[in-house]
């Protein structure tokens, strides 16, 4: 087991303390792609900040490869290198004069040699689909929002984390930017075998990418399982005001009307094919019936 959360409680100490997490147990295996969904204030962001030691739980333990990350013998720096965290609007953290320097910030803090840093900057830029030669010397502040976002993500990727956590990475991107980012995440997961935890409000994205969906509400995990299983619980999701992916919604409604379609496909293409074959079958069935 890569990461284990044991009965985590987290309380923000303020004038009136806020319980952000209230008894969370979660196990994450290497190579999983976890989609974390839930309402604003449900504890998602707190949860992911616990995973790389930015926050310490008020109660409970977090184990990384079996070691408690908040114990004395574990270096938090090491955990943070291996568990990369991309915050919401990560472009707000850019600060260096050039793109290359900004991406090099993480590897430099990790104490890598110059050639290695240079190599990683190239690789990271390549991953996010920006040309090294034409971007390395530009100021990150003169780039478009979408490009800035990709530079910021490259800054985390340059650490070569084993686990990559992204807190609403698509927020505020245009459709093309979102698609590119989705492709990147899929590539990181499938081809580079990264473990990925994605927080998103867009059910479509979660449904298509995640191998497991975790639903949070008021500091608790209330539902988890494969996307098809979780999105089957329409009523429970409705109770906490979460929508189904549009595709699932349509398929379910068709099924209720009597069309025999599967409801566990999430890609638009697949759904279209599913509906077409179902319609075909139905009409065949009708034709074969003696009038």
């Amino acid at each position: 087991m890569l990461i284990e959360l044991e009965n985590i409680r987290h309380i923000y100490q303020m004038d009136d303390p806020v319980v952000a997490l209230d008894g969370v147990d979660l196990e994450i295996e290497r190579g999983e792609f976890i989609g974390l969904i839930g309402h604003t204030g449900s504890g998602k962001s707190t949860l992911v900040q616990l995973l790389n030691g930015l926050l310490k739980p008020s109660e409970g333990r977090i184990l990384f490869e079996g070691r408690d990350i908040n114990s004395q013998e574990v270096e938090l720096k090491e955990i943070r290198r291996r568990v990369g965290l991309v915050f919401q609007y990560p472009e707000h953290q850019l600060f260096e004069e050039t793109v290359a320097k900004d991406i090099a910030f993480g590897p430099k803090n990790a104490g890598l040699a110059d050639e290695e840093i240079d190599k990683r900057v190239r690789e990271a830029l390549d991953l996010v689909g920006l040309d090294y030669e034409s971007f390395k010397d530009r100021s990150p502040f003169n780039l478009s929002g979408g490009q800035q976002r990709r530079i910021a993500i490259a800054g985390v990727l340059a650490l070569k984390p084993e686990v990559l956590i992204l807190d609403e990475p698509m927020a505020g991107l245009d459709p093309a930017g979102r698609r590119k980012l989705l492709e990147l995440l899929r590539h990181l997961h499938r081809n580079l075998e990264m473990t990925i935890i994605l927080i998103s409000h867009r059910m479509e994205e979660i449904a298509r990418l995640a191998s497991r969906v975790v639903v949070m509400d008021r500091g608790k995990i209330i539902l988890e399982g494969r996307p098809a299983e979780v999105f089957n619980e329409r009523e429970r999701l409705k109770d906490i005001d979460l929508d189904l992916p549009v595709v699932t919604d349509i398929l379910k409604k068709l099924k209720e009307k009597g069309l025999k379609v599967r409801t566990d496909v999430f890609a638009l293409e697949d759904a279209r094919n599913e509906i077409l074959t179902a319609l075909e079958k139905q009409s065949q069935f009708r034709e074969s019936r003696p009038c």
């Binding site: 930015l54 943070r80 707000h92 953290q93 600060f95 910030f105 650490l159």
Partner: protein
């Protein structure tokens, strides 16, 4: 950690202190601060502390919160104490070790200064804790108005202050967020010597400034699109009106101030 700062934090309430006219509160605060510098005995400080406690109780302010507000000056207080302990000469030698020496006058002035700083901050925090930033700037604007004759843009200054106060919590939140993001990339804000620490702040300060400028730009646009224009022609929703209790309380404060300064 950053959220400990109590400047600009306001605890709403309905006590007599809360309902006082902000102008009177500001004047009383100025008066009391002045008196604080005239006090030259510990009896005086004690009476002043008593007064502070009485006000805190009448305003029903959480004492804990006020004490927490003193945390940011803790370093200054300790530094002041030590400088006076070891450097102020006079009176009997109380303690000596090699070149370090504490003399009577040092102990006296040390604690004296510390009491002064602490009381000063406690009294001013009563003002900011019981007065909303809006009332506060209204009061300041009103008090500065006579200076408009000499070309002082009182209204604009007040607006600037309102905005500054309003954005302190926002910027603190932002700073904490950026700090976390850089920590996630392995930044280290907590170790190293002074120069290393100052350097480590660059990845925090640059994005913070950029976002502050961005916010300022957006705010200016939002204000202009709602037809804000400064100047004296602005009217206000809540006119400040002096009540008789305000006058009595001011007189009471003046009498107390004079009385305390005699000790």
């Amino acid at each position: 950690m950053l959220t400990d700062i109590t400047i600009g934090q306001h605890i709403p309430g309905s006590s007599i202190i809360h309902r006082m006219d902000p102008r009177v509160k500001i004047l009383i605060t100025l008066l009391m601060i002045t008196i604080l510098f005239f006090i030259d005995t510990f009896t005086g400080f004690f009476l002043f502390l008593l007064l502070v406690v009485i006000i805190l109780l009448t305003a029903k302010l959480p004492i804990k919160r006020v004490l927490r507000g003193l945390k940011p000056v803790f370093f200054l207080v300790i530094l002041t104490l030590f400088l006076h302990l070891f450097l102020t000469r006079g009176g009997e030698v109380i303690w000596q070790w090699r070149f370090l020496r504490i003399e009577e006058a040092g102990v006296f002035t040390g604690f004296f200064m510390v009491s002064r700083i602490l009381l000063l901050i406690m009294f001013t925090s009563i003002l900011t804790l019981t007065t909303s930033p809006l009332e506060l700037t209204d009061g300041i604007e009103y008090l500065l108005k006579p200076l408009a004759r000499f070309g002082l843009p009182a209204g604009e200054l007040a607006m600037m202050m309102t905005i500054a106060l309003r954005f302190i919590p926002t910027l603190l939140e932002e700073a904490e967020k950026i700090m976390k993001a850089q920590k996630a990339r392995g930044a280290d804000f907590e170790s190293g010597n002074i120069i290393q620490r100052a350097k480590a702040l660059v990845p925090l300060l640059v994005p913070l400034f950029i976002s502050a400028f961005r916010r300022a730009d957006e705010l200016a646009l939002a204000m202009e699109s709602r037809c804000y224009s400064g100047g004296t022609s602005r009217t206000r929703l809540h006119e400040l009106k002096l009540k008789s209790t305000d006058v009595y309380l001011f007189l009471l404060a003046a009498v107390l101030a004079v009385a305390i300064s005699f000790f």
